[in-house]
């Protein structure tokens, strides 16, 4: 008595097809799972046995052997349980069951016979479709993310019994409606709107320029000056996620089990703000199973690091490569995975350990040596990847009360989108999406400056002793400001504005 069903496993963010074979023979009563199952898969034997009997179905009598093929890949996770249960139920009489060969089963079983959600349903649904399967049966909670994939029938189920009845044809499961990405996007509202951020016009401008050019941003200001609030508004003013971007981002979140349930594809750019005690593997990905880290979870979105100097130095240094290259390759004993990590880095920090340096209201109690030590935790190479740096002062209550209505995110987002479109047109045919990605050669190729602008910049270089690297950064930021202003070549006002966002290196930091 032999039966075969199909399920999927998860490798990184992508699924791979697993054939589940069940063989029932005479002999000593027992239940074995072979095919490199992990401890979680071995445990599933007891859950499956209980779930079948509680659902009022018959557990096959005899020696049961379940094989998970391909047999040389370590099987982890609990998504195979539904497929194993179905293989066991159909082993006695496979003809009774419809469409076993064209269906992929996903789901974990509870002792009560209920279906529990699984990690990475989106990636597995894509795999099922790519392998030519027509049907996908999975837990209710995972239905919406899978429903975003065209070309496969998605049947959400809540119990093992319902799946059984569907398969033998006594009662069909309702078909999940396909969800169009446009309709999801339509229903999205901005959670953090810029209109609720009072004051800080300079920082708002910096945020807009950063969003328009994809520049990384550093905000220096005392606690309570609104760094976090501003950073949270960033996803709302970035251009909306395209379908492909949404799919990429949701895949990672789905695989990491971080997806909000019953939501389908993500339509809002992710905003990740890991605490400063985050370890290096948690930041860039790793662990025994080489899982995606914060930088990948922030893919197509924003990675916000508050209290930047408090992060471990090695964590920050490890961030450099993923931010620069847009992907990270994690190699561990159990495999190698490559995760995309194209995100904007937004960092917040205090000007000194006590936070009051440069404040008018409170005295700074730090010694120059302490300030120096605090700032020296940020390496030059890391700061080199941050194009825009801006200082924030605390906003007083009277200022907040007196403030007029501020511009809302939608207005800013429209300007940002226009600037981004100019960039996409300029870089057509290149693997460049925004100004921040320009390297030295790109700057020479694409940056066009008026004569006045060039002269002003050279004067600034002279006066502030700007380094070659900072010079390139100012040019990139000036290009973005020109894009925002709709200028084809950078004029002197664009450059002058960019200089305001210049690296703080020559200013307070080295002086103290």
């Amino acid at each position: 008595m032999l039966a075969k069903t199909f399920s999927c496993g998860l490798e990184g963010v992508n699924g791979y097809l697993v054939e589940v074979e069940a063989y029932i023979s005479g002999g000593m009563v027992g239940f074995e799972v072979v095919g490199l199952p992990s401890a979680a898969v071995k445990e599933s034997r007891d859950r499956i046995r209980a779930a079948i009997s509680v659902s009022g179905l018959e557990f096959p009598f005899g020696k049961v052997t379940v094989n998970l093929a391909p047999a040389d890949v370590k099987k982890d996770g609990t998504a195979f349980e539904l497929a194993i249960a179905m293989a066991l139920l159909s082993a006695k009489n496979p003809e009774r069951f419809h469409e076993l060969a064209s269906t992929v089963f996903l789901g974990e079983l509870s002792l009560q016979g209920k279906l529990m959600p699984v990690r990475g349903a989106l990636g597995m649904a894509i795999t099922a479709k790519e392998n030519g399967f027509r049907n996908l049966i999975l837990p209710m909670e995972n239905a919406k993310e899978a429903a975003c994939i065209d070309g496969i029938n998605v049947y959400p189920a809540s119990t093992l019994q319902a799946v059984f009845e569907h398969s033998v044809g006594s009662q069909a499961l309702p078909l999940q409606e396909a969800i169009s990405y446009q309709s999801l996007l339509h229903a999205t509202s901005i959670e953090h709107d810029l209109k609720y951020v009072k004051g800080q016009p300079v920082a708002r401008k910096a945020l807009e320029v950063a969003a328009a050019g994809g520049h990384n941003l550093l905000m220096v200001g005392i606690p309570g000056s609104g760094k976090t609030m501003l950073a949270r508004c960033l996803p709302g003013i970035l251009p909306p996620l395209s379908y492909e971007e949404a799919l990429e981002t949701t895949l990672i979140h789905s695989a990491a089990g971080e997806l909000e349930q019953n939501n389908g594809l993500m339509t809002v750019r992710p905003f990740r703000s890991p605490h400063h005690n985050t370890s290096m593997p948690a930041m860039i990905g790793g662990g025994m199973k080489a899982k995606p880290g914060e930088v990948s979870l922030a893919h197509n979105g924003v990675l916000f690091l508050d209290e930047l100097p408090e992060f471990q130095r090695q964590t920050l240094e490890a961030l450099r490569q993923p931010i620069e290259d847009g992907f990270v390759t994690i190699t561990r004993m159990n495999g190698q995975n490559r995760y995309v990590s194209r995100c904007m880095l937004v960092a917040g920090m205090n000007p000194c350990p006590c936070g009051n340096y440069g404040s008018k209201k409170k005295a700074c109690s730090c010694t120059p040596a302490e300030i120096k030590r605090y700032l020296s935790k940020l390496s030059g190479p890391l700061l080199d990847r941050i194009d825009i740096q801006v200082e924030l002062d605390a906003v007083s209550v009277t200022e907040i009360e007196a403030a007029d209505a501020e511009e809302d995110s939608a207005t800013v987002a429209a300007r940002v989108l226009k600037a981004r479109k100019r960039q996409l047109a300029r870089y057509r045919g290149q693997s460049i999406y925004c100004n921040a990605q320009l390297d030295q050669r790109g700057i020479e190729q694409y940056v066009r400056m008026s004569k006045d602008a060039k002269q002003l910049l050279l004067q600034a270089v002279e006066r502030f002793s700007i380094s070659m690297r900072a010079y390139g950064r100012i040019q990139k930021v000036a290009l973005t400001i020109a894009d925002l202003n709709g200028h084809d070549s950078i004029d002197s006002m664009d450059v002058a504005m960019a200089i305001q966002f210049r690296n703080l290196e020559g200013k307070i930091w080295r002086q103290s």
């Binding site: 800080q200 300079v202 440069g358 008018k360 700074c364 801006v390 502030f464 002058a496 103290s512």
Partner: protein, 366 residues
């Protein structure tokens, strides 16, 4: 370098960093430094703390002292003893005058009138600018600028004097071979290698220990006929120098700042107590009678042609402002103001302070 027995004994005492006040009282007790050395270790000899005693015992041998002299010679570090002819008279007049000064550079700096310029290490742009211009103005008038080679005001004062191609003296709180702060090593070289002088009462490799610095301050004020306090809090090293200047009977000047700024509290406190006001190097020179009264101060005329920049300068004349406040004041958007601020900053018309605040440079006139 041949030293007398007395000088050798003073050098010997200095290797263990025995303080000036202790050495003076010992000399009063024993008659001379040579006598102290002779009696050291005997029953009626002087007693020292454990660590000092050990170092003194090591260096008591002639060979050790000879070795030290050799090293000093190789490193071009010279010695100035209190009984030497060219030991500055001004300094000689204070209590606890140093019995031995290690120096590098030109002793001729000590011949000109000297003025100390001191202040906080955490200086504002305004303070730095003032220290620089005062240092420049004094040096140009032939005055030697004395300071402590620390970060902030001290460094700016030295820089100012150097840029006028004048004389400046840096008094260290550590050994000449282990200068502190390390980032001022190039500055130290420029002073010692040029027209300036580096002084320290501590042996070559002495560490920059916290208590050295306040003790060192008495040398800064002692060398000078007047001390200028540029910027600093009420409790600060600058205030300490001012106090020792008062004890020594030196003239005290203070540079006024903006009321409410922390760095202004020190100067304002002493102004209220009767210090002289110094708004430029000219004020100091006039008051000290070092130069006939004149008004060729370090005033600068701002040439502004763009109307919006003129408005900005007008606003900043009253007080330093942030971009946000400037925008509110002038009823303009930050988009319009920020580029103008860059241009003004590049042209040297305004200064950018910590906390994103802008101010006019001191002594600027429209």
């Amino acid at each position: 370098m041949t030293l007398t027995e007395e000088q050798r004994s003073l050098l010997w005492l200095s290797t263990a960093e025995v303080t000036a006040s202790r050495v003076h009282s010992l000399i009063r007790q024993y008659g001379s430094a040579a006598e102290i050395r002779a009696r050291f270790g005997t029953e009626d000899g002087p007693t020292f703390q454990g660590k000092t005693e050990k170092i003194l015992a090591v260096h008591r041998e002639d060979s050790a002292l000879n070795q030290l002299c050799e090293r000093l010679f190789k490193q071009h570090v010279h010695l100035l003893f209190y009984m030497d002819e060219n030991y500055p008279q001004w300094l000689r007049s204070i209590d606890d005058f140093p019995y031995l000064l290690y120096y590098a550079g030109r002793l001729s700096c000590l011949d000109a009138p000297m003025v100390g310029v001191v202040g906080t290490r955490k200086a504002s742009q305004y303070g730095l600018e003032m220290a620089r211009s005062i240092g420049y103005g004094l040096a140009q008038a032939g005055v030697t600028v004395v300071s402590g080679l620390a970060r902030g005001i001290d460094g700016a004062a030295h820089e100012g004097a150097l840029s006028a191609d004048g004389c400046t003296i840096g008094v260290l709180g550590c050994g000449i071979n282990a200068p502190y702060p390390p980032e001022h090593t190039p500055l130290l070289r420029r002073i010692a290698g040029g027209k300036g002088l580096i002084l320290s009462e501590y042996p070559l490799d002495a560490e920059p220990i916290a208590f050295h610095f306040p003790y060192r301050n008495r040398i800064i004020s002692g060398l000078s006929c007047a001390v200028v306090f540029v910027e600093g809090a009420v409790k600060s090293g600058g205030m300490h120098t001012v106090n020792s200047a008062l004890i020594q009977g030196r003239e005290v000047f203070a540079v006024p700042g903006r009321v409410g700024a922390i760095g202004s509290e020190g100067p304002h406190t002493i102004l209220r107590e009767g210090a002289r006001i110094a708004t430029s190097a000219g004020d100091i020179l006039d008051d000290l009678g070092l130069r006939p009264l004149s008004n060729t101060a370090t005033e600068r005329t701002l040439k502004i042609t763009v109307p919006i920049q003129r408005d900005i300068a007008k606003c900043l004349r009253l007080q330093p402002l942030t971009v946000e406040k400037l925008a509110g004041e002038l009823r303009l958007t930050v988009n319009e103001i920020m580029p103008q601020l860059s241009i003004m900053e590049i042209n040297g018309l305004i200064l950018r302070e910590a906390g994103n605040e802008f101010s006019l440079p001191p002594n600027a006139r429209e």
